[in-house]
Amino acid sequence: MTEFTLKDRMAMARQKMPEQEPVERRGNFTEVNLGFTAELAVAEAQRCLMCRRPVCIEGCPVGVQIRDFIGLVAEGDFDGAAKVIKLDNSLPAVCGRVCPQEDQCEGACVLGRKDKPIAIGALERFVADYERLNGIATADAPPVSTGKSVAIVGSGPAGLACATDLARLGHDVTVFEALHVLGGVLSYGIPEFRLPKEIVQAEIIQLEKLGVTFTTNAVIGMIDTLDDLLGEEGFDAIFVGVGAGLPRFPAIPGENLVGVYSANEFLTRVNLMKAYKPDAETPVYDVTGKTVAVFGGGNTAMDAVRTAVRLGAAKASIVYRRSEAEMPARNEEIVHAKHEGVEFRMLANPVEFLGNEEGVLTAMRLQEMELGEPDQSGRQSPVPITGSEWVEDVDMVVVAIGNSPNPLLQKTTPDLEQTRRGTLVADGVTGRTSKHGVFAGGDIVTGGATVILAMGAGRRAAVSINDYLNTGEWEIEPEAPLVG
């Protein structure tokens, strides 16, 4: 293999991810990014400086051995690279696609300071896809059983990551999921064109091979409470990873008109219930040739607006109350949305939705905003400009201003301490909650965050659950940082 000097490596250009052309992809739900070819992957990996102190790893919430796996990709050992990644990340095909890399691994890469960071996400995705498509994924043989059983509530990334580690340790793991499909937001929220559902399913099959039991249609809190699981169902410990699935509405007049959706409902109808397919049984509002406005600036808003484009909207826009610099969405999603013709309207906020006598949305009243003092999030807070209101026609509106924790589970578990925001109180390191034997992690503890943070929390909890199962000791450091 060719030896490159540091200078050679620095001179190489960052490889570009091949993608479907915007005109073409506007009309379909297949994945936008096409993935690196083996040649592109090797070429990109060769740019890596193999830093003595790989700062990229510090940017990754689960500490993927980035330098080592990239080194193996550069040598063409994709199988070896997959093994390295899987030591720390059990869902690399997912993370490679959806992590906000610019804020995490790629944001930390030394090459980012001068020029372009290594395309770590794209490489991770390539390696994971290579492994899956070539069928070399070697599910480890189920280990010797410890005789202990753990119930995992919720099958999103937090629950799946926790289940993986506990199953590998030989515990008997059962995942309870409220919906009829597993995967949490990965299945019902993030659209097919960004994360093909086949990939999520492949990861779940791996877990089944590890011996994990999945029970769908199980709404914990309704069919069994946490006390039932620990009591009559005989589980030794519980991990709660139920996410933050309660959609927020702006509390303005007209928000219940037909044509006003929460992002959760719109995306669930399209992704989970496959309403984008012509023969689907579940309907979604017909937006062909219509005007759609999506409120919000996060990944959810981008997913909703790009879904509306694909369903045939003539005009689709993002309406955000701050400026583009404050938008929490991944850069790539913003760029993709723009290329697909989405209009970005910054510093605007809805104050009312207007409808006809049939109760159907026809227009919205917006107001102009300006940026004021920084708020708790450190971002400048949007302030309405008085007298700046105007009305314009719109056929469908999607509200994507965030989700709160769903209180369903807490309602039946009064001894599970929660914060005023409704998130569960859990030790930031061990995931231990105020209730003996119950651990929690992911969005239910942090509020809406990211896939990789949820997975990291699931994995840390798995370590602590294993300790608890082995020692029977239940200790919560009073000084330990409580997240929530």
């Binding site: 309660l246 219930m273 769903n406």
Partner: protein, 289 residues
Amino acid sequence: MFNILEARDLAPGVRYVRVEAPKIARRRKAGQFVIIRATSDGERIPLTIADSNAEEGWIALIVQGVGKATKTLNRLGAGDAIPDVAGPLGMPSRIERFGTVVSIGGGVGTAIAYPSAVALKEAGNQVISIIGGRDSSYVLLEEEMRAVCDEVYPTTDDGSYGYHGFVTDKLTDLIEEGRHLDFVLAIGPIPMMKAVAEVTRPHSIETVVSLNPIMVDGTGMCGGCRVAVGGETKFACVDGPEFDAHLVDFELLAMRNRAYAGFENTRLDEMDQECDRPQLLPVVPGGSA
């Protein structure tokens, strides 16, 4: 998979379906519902648990075929199985010792009112039941109601059976006769529930209705089932489905339930073309819209 143990017709287009679901049978309380999918690519639809038996491990659903999902379910019989049944969902009915209560069921609404009537009787109430139907064939569960209630009044719009008139007419009669009523539970088509609310409002009789907005997940995740109650937005699947009738915005509910009217008609047309015996069945007065 959930096995169907028994399925039979109760009225034209209305079926009684008994499904094996031991866990739900043990946990469920009156007023709660399940979300089912009749086929592996089917829609998620909410159906009230009309009855259950914890020892034998089954729940019973009473299903009115109004659209594709319900009609698909109603074509299944004993020995068939359905892929998904999730529940119990929703808040249980408020069961207290009120005194004299009236349980009003319109069409398939009677099926939803039945378990609550049983629970209200068990709680020591004097229970009067009014069962309304368009004609005699739509008066459901009369025998079952007679077995638990103190008084049962079937009513038909056309006078073909029982009292000639709407359920609200019978209710008004009771009030005018000077009967003291402490609590009214009304379940049926939206116009019926709205009318009941207007009858009881001037007399300040506490009245509860069970709302049937369009649902997807049934767990509070989508907000599709939102209804306005006393000017506040509520999610019927987790905050309800039962609410104070005097505070419900019925117009909004009716409008939201029409959201997919065009789509559903296309689906039905396709379905009717697919099947040998066209199944466009008469719907209970007012329909579920």
